[in-house]
Amino acid sequence: MDHTSLLERWLRRFALALIVTFFMFPIFWIVLMSLQTNETILRSPPSMAFVPTFDNYLAILAGRLDSNVASMGIDFLNNLMNSIILSVSSVAVALCLGVPAAYAFARHKFRGSEDIAFTLLSFRFAPPLLVLLPLTLYFQQIGLADTYLGLVWVYQLICLPLILWIVRGYFEDISPDIEYAYRIAGHSWFATFRKIALPLAGPGIAAAGLLAFIFAWNNFIFALVLASADKQPVTVGALAFVTASGIQYGQIAAAVVLSIAPTLALALWAQRYLVEGLSLGAVKG
């Protein structure tokens, strides 16, 4: 960094500021909106000067949506709970299935291994609606429609390929000789997987799990089609604020703040793992 000129440093700072503003402004604005009433949000020209109110948050926590026409019950907290249940269990299932599979794909080149791995990845390419229509029919037949189990199953379309492909790369980065050294010291391959491969790929697995969690959390279409109101996550639940008597911007904003808070907190907390994950290359021989 010593060799950069003053101008270059200032340009770099300016570019960084621009990027941060671009990505942070929507979040900043949403937080502002969540503290205003619908009237102050919609006034023209918009202004940053307002008296903050927590009514929007209180309405959501109380589960009552009061508009100027009527009041109706909403169950946003239930949606939040659904999001947590669905995302956490989807990622857990995907980790249990995906990490051993990733290890197998990384370490053992068997006939068709590349094809299978690619097929799994290709699930990410297919438009979700293509899968959803037949799935809706099947799920109704076998009783999986509108169940957490069915949703978690479908969520594997998002989580499993992601985890499989990211974690596979991390396993491939570990020199096989480290595992051989452990095996030749008298350990089985399963012990090697648990004691050497898993800890070394740990940061990568954490990063992949985190990404999968965010993708699962943000999913909208699967739950919209396959679940009824009491199983829907926040992404679908937010639709309830579009009421017959108008769109409740303040409450939507508060709901959005509440729903991005867990993923944002998780990402900030896991930053360490993401950075550690990126420096895993140092392990290579």
Binding site: S175, D177, I178, Y180, A181, Y182, R183, I184, A185, G186, H187, S188, W189, I196, P199, L200, A282, V283, G285
Partner: protein
């Protein structure tokens, strides 16, 4: 009974595909207890594949492998009783060097004081005492390599496999450690197989050397025999620095002398009495042979066959003189300075006891120093 027996072992990578590679071909090898054997060859000669098959990281495509008369083909690496030092070091990244070296001993439930004593001893031997408490990624490649070597040598295994154990070390340290490692192995009565492409290392460490090329074992013998009695043209040219001078020659006989006609009408004449009658018969039936002379045995003298010097290098302890001779080039090594510059004429003298004669068709040695091989 040998400690390790390999019988007709083959290794074929990607069998049946267009990229099939026959890395190890029909290998027979037996290693006695307490012996140090080097697998020597250039890259891709099959030496590392052989080592990995013995360790159990690669499956032999066919053939038998046995340690202590027990077949190991299907045993997992953990059950084979072998220890290995890896070319890529492969230390466990989260553990300190001390913990890495002590790893197997701890698993054997050895008391901590004893473990520590042994680790300190091997660390002193390998000159790594100063960074025992560092992590692998905090030390250099050469230091990691010594730690990996230490982790292997400290184990009580039937067989120690060392894959290029000193490839990353600087020459002085390598020379020092060679002696120490050999002494350690002998003192503890260990059996070791060493993979290397460095013949100095193989010569210094090994009791016997297996020279491999193209997946085929060329010769398995003591360092001395490899030098004095190479089994074929490949070993003759591969072992020795600078390499053996090789010339194709036609053979003829008169009443008293045997004539070897090299290129450019150069004719080497030797008294018939210096060759055994069987050899003379073999050479004459062959008509053409390949003659090999070690550079150390090419003497520059007052009389002899004329040659024109084109390079003269003083290496500090020996002189390499390269000259045009018999349509090719001949290299002579002398232990003193030789004063002759490029373009000068010298006389080359070759003694019959220094001749290696090979069959040009098969490459197999016919004779060494006038005696049938």
């Amino acid at each position: 009974m040998s400690l390790l027996e390999l019988n007709g072992v083959n290794k074929i990578y990607n069998p049946g595909s267009a990229h099939a590679v026959h890395a190890v071909q029909n290998l027979d090898l037996s290693v006695e207890k307490g012996e140090i054997v080097a697998l020597l060859g250039s890259s891709g000669c099959g030496k590392t594949s052989t080592l990995r098959m013995i360790a159990g990281f690669e499956e032999a495509s066919s053939g038998q492998m046995a340690i202590n008369s027990k077949e190991i083909n299907r045993l997992p690496p953990a059950k084979r009783g072998v220890a290995m030092a890896f070319e890529g070091y492969s230390l466990y990244p989260p553990l300190s060097i001390r913990e890495n070296i002590a790893f197997a001993l701890k698993a054997e439930k050895m008391p901590a004081t004893e473990v520590n004593k042994q680790v300190e001893a091997i660390a002193a031997l390998l000159e790594i005492s100063d960074f025992l408490d560092k992590r692998p990624n905090a030390i250099s490649g050469g230091q990691q390599q010594r730690a990996s070597l230490g982790r292997s040598l400290i184990r009580k295994a039937d067989l120690h496999l060392l894959d290029e154990p000193m490839g990353q070390l600087e020459p002085q340290l390598r020379a020092l450690l060679r002696g120490r490692i050999k002494h350690y192995i002998k003192q503890h009565n260990l059996t070791a197989i060493l993979v290397t492409h460095d013949q100095t290392e193989a010569n210094a460490l090994a009791d016997r050397i297996a020279v491999m090329e193209g997946g085929v074992l060329q010769q398995f013998d003591t360092p001395e025999n490899l030098k004095n009695k190479p089994a074929n043209i490949f070993t003759g040219a591969f072992i020795g620095e600078p390499p053996m001078n090789l010339f194709e020659a036609g053979a003829a006989l008169n009443d008293t002398e045997i004539h070897l006609r090299l290129g450019d009408d150069v004719k080497l004449e030797f008294p018939k009495a210096r060759f055994s009658p069987e050899l003379i018969e073999r050479v004459l039936t062959n008509k053409s042979v390949v003659v090999g002379i070690r550079p150390h045995s090419v003497h520059l003298a007052e009389t002899g066959h004329p040659a024109e010097v084109y390079a003269n290098q003083w290496l500090g302890d020996q002189t390499h003189v390269a000259a045009r001779f018999a349509g090719k080039s001949i290299v002579s090594v002398a232990h003193d300075r030789v004063r002759c510059g490029p373009g000068e004429q010298v006389n080359v003298q070759i003694n019959p006891e220094d001749l290696h004669i090979f069959d040009p068709a098969t490459g197999a040695a016919l004779s060494h120093g006038g005696v049938l091989a």
